[in-house]
């Protein structure tokens, strides 16, 4: 179904965000701002070993400490709660996971006991008094080593560290490789990073004994799912649980998952009859928040001499860490390794590996960032091998605009795209031709300037059975006072939903933008929906607001039509009135319609329900919930992308990289609020630059995390922002009413391949090959030396 709907203002306007004022004036309301009377504070005893049996946990000394109300170990609660409902597909080997480790710890920092005290300081003091008797086990950190026979096993009940396997191959893949003129082959690793939202995780659980009900405040991106999981593990009626996500200071995927600590707090509150609070420290966030990336690809591409891409074979080893609960990072990579190119021959073997590292999970660009990074690096490697310009080889192989909707080898259905146009425009913005000439001149003067090209594609709005559901909803109410409220099924963590939803409803109903309030993140008033992730808000949530707006408009016009004695099609809403299009004098005030709907229902059209309240649903288009006979399926609804050209200077004496220019053209389809899209892109690009150049989670061989503070895990700041040229082209998604494709993640995908390609280009006279990231100065200098040593030997 191709949708055609008019997009009218204020959709598409650069409307100021409703939520900005409270954030910039420090009057936002976060979990840590809440302190109900009688609140107690939790602190966790965390494993100091990466892999060990728990022989005993001595808690008596801690229980006797001042202000301590209770201490629980994993053993204490294992029989009191059910294990966590683990997500993931049927390919994922299931594990039993409790809120606190029982019998065994599997990563450094895993919670194994909890102290509840009058305040956090006393609780942390008591944590130090808990003594844990460990019997250390051999540690496995490297996923390839974890696949070897005889490797230490992380989950004995699974029996292997290979906890996920996926194979896919199109017919005739081997023949393509036999017949190819050239095959390029490379091993490329995406390194492990952390999401680092400004606000770490924060929870406050309050069990009310008299009402036998539970309220949970959580800095979550997934309130409705969390509610179900709390009900699950506590065996407590879900209807008696209310989850509230107040203002949430960023998620970047990391808060869409449910955590051990998050499920324990409701249990503690019910046991102790007091509100219990825990706010994560930054060190805890680095150790326990879900990590992202960390895939090893051994990938080959078959090509003709002229650069025509024929086929891709890939082997993916994805490090899922220890207490894994999801597997979508692997699928999101495995289904999209052919990227934006016309390659119908493809084979992949993907393995999910459990190791003694922190659990892997969602992080802005999950799986898709790994895929686009690896592929866009490989394309450059192929171009160099064939002595082709990196733009030319891409142009030659892009899926052309007329091929959309385009089904890739794995069955993914790309909605729309103009890749050639995007890259052509980016090249113009970056002054590509001129830069190439400059580059040659600069090299003569000993300046190593490089130009890196990438075109990254970001599948958005994934739908999986019971996990992300495939739909979203908004309830829209005009109350008897005339106040207009939208209840959104999805929360927000900085995306600006309070503004964009109001823009859509204003556009549909004619009700002024300023009069519309958006409520979100509270399971009590809002309709059911899945979490804010996979850039799905503008693909599926915003259309549901659009549908709700349409239903409300129809209802208002229906009431007015009867009162005015005119057909509804002849009516318009504006200036607080409904009027006849041809005769503006013939009108009725919207407030009059409100009063009618609530108080004078005898004036309503026949069979119309009283009141002004409607619920709009929108279902993700084009989703397959099961593979076809050949194993093909489409699990994402939209395919935004960005072309990038990065220009860098590499200082060959110090290894430092300076980004001279970062030019990008982005296509997320129609933009509901271009201002918000721009700022999303800027932040997203900076997060990608951080991942490419500075950020890396590093473990030592004993499995201790070496980068658990911002002293060791450096994020870029405003001082690292390069000269950024950002433009958009608009190719609307033809399958959604708003034509929007999602704008949250694409920006982050660009920097890793574009900067690696640029740095390799800069150092090509020295013969440097980059296969590992981040591009830290010591790594760059080492690579230069290795290359020089090799060339001397040759």
């Amino acid at each position: 179904m191709i949708m055609e709907f008019p997009i009218t203002p204020p959709i598409g306007d650069r409307v100021k965000r409703k939520e900005t004022l409270r954030f910039v004036t420090g009057t936002g309301h976060y979990v840590d701002d809440l302190l109900p009377p009688g609140t107690l504070h939790a602190a966790f005893v965390r494993s100091s070993c990466a892999h060990a049996r728990i022989k005993g946990v001595a808690v008596e000394a801690a229980r006797a400490m001042p202000g301590v109300h209770a201490v629980f170990t994993g053993e204490d609660i294992a029989h009191q709660v059910k294990p966590l409902r683990v997500g993931g597909s049927s390919l994922l080997r299931q594990i039993k996971l409790y809120p606190l480790a029982v019998d065994k710890v599997r990563y450094y920092g895993e919670p194994l006991a909890v102290v509840v005290a009058d305040n956090r300081y006393l609780a942390e003091d008591a944590v130090e008094a808990v003594s844990v008797d460990y019997s250390p086990l051999p540690v496995v950190i490297d996923p390839e080593a974890a696949m070897e026979p005889g490797a230490p096993i992380v989950h004995e009940d699974v029996g292997s560290n290979i906890v996920y396997k996926y194979h896919f191959a199109t017919d005739g893949i081997d023949k393509v490789f036999q017949d190819a003129d050239v095959v390029v082959r490379e091993r490329i690793r995406s390194h492990r990073i952390a999401a680092c939202p400004i606000e770490p995780r924060a929870y406050l659980a309050h069990y009310n004994k008299e009402e036998d009900s539970l309220t949970m405040w959580s800095a979550t991106a997934n309130p409705h799912s969390l509610r179900g999981r709390i009900g699950d593990i506590l065996d407590f009626p879900e209807g008696k649980i209310r989850v509230i996500a107040p203002d949430v200071g960023g998620s970047f995927g990391v808060k869409i998952q449910t955590y051990q600590e998050e499920l324990l707090l409701p249990y503690l509150s019910r046991e102790l009859g007091r509100p219990i609070k825990w706010c994560e420290t930054r060190v805890e966030h680095m150790r326990n928040g879900r990590h992202g990336r960390d895939q090893i690809h051994t990938i080959e591409m078959a090509l003709k001499k002229d650069g025509t891409m024929l086929g891709i074979k890939d082997k993916i080893i994805a490090d899922m860490g220890s207490t894994y609960t999801v597997d979508h990072s692997i699928m999101a990579a495995a289904l999209y390794m052919t990227g934006v190119y016309q390659i119908q021959n493809y084979a992949v073997d993907a393995f999910g590996i459990s190791t003694n590292k922190t659990t892997h999970g969602s992080l802005r660009g999950i799986g898709k960032a790994d895929a686009s990074y690896v592929l866009e690096r490989l394309v450059d490697i192929a171009a160099r091998e064939l002595k082709l310009d990196p733009i030319d080889i891409r142009m030659k192989n892009f899926i052309p605009p007329e091929a959309f909707p385009y089904r890739n080898a794995t069955g993914a259905l790309y909605d729309s795209g103009q890749y050639q146009l995007a890259l052509k425009r980016t090249a113009a913005m970056a002054g590509y031709e001129q830069r190439r000439k400059e580059q040659a001149e600069l090299r003569k003067r000993g300046i190593y300037r490089g130009i890196g090209v990438a075109l990254v594609m970001e599948p958005t709005s994934s739908s999986r059975i019971h996990a992300t559901g495939g739909y979203a909803s908004c309830r829209l109410r005009i109350d008897p006072s005339g106040a207009v409220t939208v209840f959104s099924s999805m929360g927000e963590q900085g995306q600006g939903h309070e503004t964009t939803i109001a823009q859509i409803v204003a556009s549909q109903t004619g009700i002024p933008f300023d009069k519309i309030t958006v409520i979100h993140g509270d399971t009590l008033p809002t309709p059911y929906g899945f979490g804010t992730g996979s850039s799905r808000s503008s693909v599926v949530l915003m259309p549901s607001a659009w549908v709700a707006g349409k239903l409300m408009r129809d209802k208002i016009l229906g009431i007015a039509a009867r009162q005015l004695g005119v057909a509804p099609e002849k009516l318009e809403i504006g200036d607080g009135k409904v009027f006849v299009r041809e005769n503006h004098q013939q009108s009725i005030a919207v407030m009059e319609i409100v009063r009618t709907a609530y108080g004078a229902i005898h004036l309503l059209p026949e069979n119309m329900e009283p009141g002004l309240e409607v619920t709009g649903y929108f279902v993700n288009p084009n989703i397959d919930y099961a593979p076809d006979a050949k194993g093909r399926m489409n699990t994402f609804s939209s395919y935004p992308y960005a072309a990038v050209i990065a220009v860098v200077d590499v200082d060959v004496e110090t290894g430092m990289i300076k980004i001279v220019k970062y030019a990008t053209v982005h296509d997320c389809g129609n933009m509901i609020n271009p201002q918000i899209v721009d700022t999303q892109q800027q932040g997203s690009i900076m997060q990608g630059i951080g991942a490419a150049l500075y950020e890396e989670l590093r473990y030592d061989e004993d499995g201790q995390l070496l980068t658990s503070t911002f002293m060791d895990y450096r994020l870029p700041s405003v001082e690292e922002v390069p000269e950024l040229a950002l433009e958009h082209i608009v190719t609307p998604n033809p399958f959604t009413p708003l034509g929007a494709k999602g704008a949250g993640e694409t920006g982050m995908l660009g920097p890793p391949p574009a900067l690696c390609n640029a740095v390799e280009d800069a150092l090509s006279p020295l013969g440097v090959k980059i296969r590992e990231t981040p591009l830290t100065p010591d790594r760059i200098l080492n690579l230069i030396e290795q290359a020089q040593a090799t060339s001397h030997h040759a």
């Binding site: 956090r120 130090e128 110090t654 290894g655 060791d712 450096r714 994020l715 700041s717 830290t776 010591d778």
Partner: protein, 293 residues
């Protein structure tokens, strides 16, 4: 990030603070701007039983020129140094060093005395006080004494101060009028601790030969170092590219950097060589403009 329990004492004067130190001995730590100590306490790496707050002692916060030297009270904040017109005019390298410390929030709170006593091997002021041959004025129970910068840093995070002594003043002899200085820092991201840094102050005679020269570096070992061998190499010589390369080589050979997440020892040696060469070149350029004709 919750520190262990401690007692907080507010000192109103240096005498107050010394009395507190005498009373509590090794259990006590002085709190200056708190930008290193407080994070360490929050990580429970530092666990002083008593915290003696000296950062509000007004007598310790000043920048003034007096008898051929710039004198800075130990509790002078980085931001004051960074923005001081006197410092910018007379000792630009000090303002440059202050401006490169961490971020605005840290510079608003952190103090020069606190940073020097913290003696982080990658701190910014160490190289500067060594290049300028600064004097550290200390006050203790047994009276005042002056520690030359060269004797001040004894090991990583350790200084020559006794446990009951307080650093009260840093005295920087004013460089010669025709001398020029620079502080260059190699950092992964702005505000990070230095991978390596170099402070170079030098003057040229009318013939273009190097007259006076003072050089301090960080990233060469456990403590910031005065590059004496490089100073002797340059002193009295006409500067040339070859000589500067030799200076870089010399520092590289003698350096024993600590391997950490910012790089291997081998990498840091090269980085130090590069940053020193650049600092010498920049100082030369600045000095050339001031050289007597």
């Amino acid at each position: 990030m919750y520190p262990a329990a401690f007692e907080y004492l507010k000192a109103r004067s240096v005498r107050d603070a010394i009395a507190f130190l005498k009373q509590h001995g090794d259990d006590a730590k002085l709190l200056a701007g708190g930008q290193s100590l407080v994070p360490m306490m929050k990580l429970r790496v530092a666990r002083p039983k008593v915290l003696i707050d000296i950062h509000r002692i007004a007598d310790l916060n000043y920048i003034r020129e007096e008898s051929g030297a710039i004198r800075l009270g130990a509790m002078t904040r980085h931001v004051q140094i960074e923005e001081s017109s006197l410092i910018r005019e007379k000792i630009p390298m000090l303002a440059e060093a202050a401006s490169k410390i961490a971020d605005t929030q840290v510079r608003n709170r952190g103090t020069i005395g606190g940073a020097l006593v913290q003696a982080d091997p990658c701190g910014d002021y160490g190289a500067v006080v060594l290049a300028l041959n600064a004097q550290m004025k200390c006050v203790g129970q047994r009276g005042d004494r002056v520690i030359p910068a060269t004797d001040f840093f004894t090991f990583a995070y350790s200084t020559a101060l006794e446990t009951d002594e307080i650093l009260t003043e840093i005295v920087m002899p004013l460089p010669d009028k025709c001398s020029a200085g620079v502080y260059l820092k190699l950092e992964k991201v702005a505000g990070d601790f230095a991978i390596a840094s170099a402070a170079v102050q030098l003057s040229l005679d009318s013939g273009g030969a190097c007259n006076e020269v003072g050089i301090g570096v960080t990233g060469a070992g456990m403590v910031p170092q005065k590059a004496l061998a490089v100073e002797s190499l340059l002193r009295g010589k006409t500067m040339s590219s070859a000589l500067i390369d030799q200076a870089g080589q010399l520092i590289q050979e003698s350096a024993e950097p600590i391997e950490d997440l910012r790089g291997s020892a081998a990498y840091k040696k090269k980085a130090l060589g590069a940053i020193l060469r650049r600092a010498i070149r920049e100082a030369l350029q600045r000095a050339d403009a001031r050289k007597p004709s």
